[in-house]
Amino acid sequence: MLVLQILIDGFAIGALYALGATGFTLIFGVSGVLNLSHGALMVAAAAAAWAAHTEGAMGSLASAAIGLTVGVALALATFRLVVRPIQRSPAIRAEEREIFILTATLLWGILIQEAIASLFTSNAKTVPPLIGGVTLLFGVRIPRNEILTAILCWAVIGILWLWVNRTRTGKAVLAASMNSRGVILLGIDLSRIHVAVWAVYGLLAGVAGVLLGMFLGVSSYSVGPLTASAFSIVVLGGLGSVYGSIMAAYAVGYLETMTAYLVSPAYRFIPALLLLVTVMYVRPHGLLGRR
């Protein structure tokens, strides 16, 4: 019984982590950007969905759609207002770009976090579930929406895979992540690729945020931990590797869940941190990372 509970709970958490991490690693792989406002985007999407429902009296599906829209809009804003000016700035040398983008996205994330707290208070918000009620799965009582969450996460990851491997734009994105100069030589407009990637990233972060809001709830305080969590998982899995991120997401999700069930909820985060330290020491580029 306990084993089943751990398996199911861990699976749902892992799926959520995987979705968030996939977005994070995608934007790094293609744009070379470690977006430290990642958590802020997720929380903003969830907060927007909550507000649409509570203040705007919209149904759960409409609220979720609002949340997704906000996620995409904010991601594009991050690109146009924060990332692109730094990438194009003549005053910043190439090797310094990374630190500036890190600092700038960090500040941008703080701005979004403060805005959310000012508008809606720092209290946790929950998004209304798409389907209510519970059901029995192998004898374990589980909310129906939790099953839906796991399914949706995997569906989105699956659609992403199809997009990258089967569509023209998607393949261009994949190519750009491997060799951006080659892509330009092929006549593909690189700037359009970037916009497309950021929009897709916004969608991924938005879905992850809204689903997280339904499942567990978020608050403005979640912003930092969510970014740190995505960052850790992506580095653990190897920067730029989507498979690595998914593997790492499940590793962390299950480690946390097992610790919470078997040891104590108070020590939930520690084994994952220790795993991170070990992997950093033994395999510094992550499980499936490429240099």
Binding site: T103, L107, I110, E114, S118, A266, Y267, L273, L274, M280
Partner: protein
């Protein structure tokens, strides 16, 4: 390789220091208290700049070192009642040891992996403090029975002295071989190593010095505020503020970091009447500076100084 800024700022900085030393004669205790905190932050930011600003790596190493030093000093006073100077010395020494322990995994990696290692170190330290709360005070923090002095001017001069001393030492170090090699490795690690520089040894020196000052300032801060807590010393937001202060002030200048810290804390305080949106406004200003004036405050001043 970029040239480090010439020694021209030396005289203006000396003048500013002299002015600062005389401030307590005319300024209120409240402003002194604010500047005291800003000076300690300045030390943190300068320590960060030496190690990470030069080496082009964003990370939270200083937060870890501050926490280790400050909590060690605080616990020693709280549990064993050692005299303050002994606690501070011990805190600093333990911070240096902590720095070396952090350096072990941290130096094998670079870039975001380095940043992550330091982030994890901070998170582990936080968890450690919470779990061993009987010793560390846990969530509420540690109340230290002794304070150096309750006199605002006294505290101010101590902080100023620490800022000036660490500024001189860190600046000297940054212009020495250590600083140049850190910069070189920050720009092209492989090339730096290929040129025969023992990158690791120099980074270790930088780590130790950075740890020394972080731990020293952290310990002093504990005996200034009378408390040590996660929220004031080991929070990620502290690390974020340090990075922002250093980048805002102008990286690779060391003194720029100090100015950035003072600017940040001063601005936050001036905006206090705006209430809850103060953090938002300060972050917005910082973001604009980072995007529009990447060389920070010192860069803006330097540009004006050049004809």
């Amino acid at each position: 390789m970029a040239k480090t800024a010439p020694l021209r700022p030396f005289w203006p900085v000396l003048a500013i220091l002299a002015l600062a030393a005389f401030l307590p004669l005319g300024v209120s205790g409240y402003v002194l208290g604010l500047l005291t905190l800003a000076y300690y932050f300045g030390v943190f930011a300068m320590a960060w700049d030496l190690l990470f600003g030069f080496a082009n790596e964003v990370n939270f190493g200083t937060t870890f070192l501050i926490g280790v030093g400050a909590y060690s000093a605080g616990i020693l006073d709280n549990r064993y009642g050692l005299p303050i100077w002994a606690c501070v010395a011990a805190g600093t020494a333990i911070a240096v040891v902590g720095g070396l322990i952090l350096a072990l995994p941290a130096l094998r990696v670079s870039g975001p992996y380095f940043g992550l290692t330091t982030l994890v170190a901070v998170l582990l330290l936080q968890n450690f403090v919470i779990i061993f709360s009987e010793v560390t005070g846990g969530e509420i923090g540690l109340v230290v029975p002794d304070v150096i002095t309750t006199d605002a001017a006294g505290n101010y001069w101590i902080a100023l002295a620490l800022l000036a001393t660490s500024g001189v030492i860190l600046t000297t170090l940054s212009r020495s071989a250590v600083g140049l090699i850190l910069q070189a490795s920050g720009q092209d690690r492989i090339q730096a190593a290929a040129l025969g520089f023992n990158v690791t040894r120099h980074k270790l020196v930088a780590f130790s010095v950075s740890a020394l000052f972080s731990g020293l300032a952290g310990s002093f801060m504990v005996f200034y505020m009378g408390t040590a807590s996660i929220g004031t010393l080991i929070d990620i937001t502290i690390g974020v503020q340090i990075i922002i202060a250093a980048v805002l002030g102008g990286r690779r200048t060391i003194i720029g970091a100090a100015f950035g810290a003072i600017f940040l804390i001063g601005l936050t305080e001036i905006l206090r009447p705006t209430g809850e949106v103060a953090t938002f406004l300060v972050s917005a200003v910082a973001l604009l500076v980072v995007i529009l004036a990447p060389n920070g405050l010192t860069g803006m001043v330097a540009r004006k100084a050049r004809p």
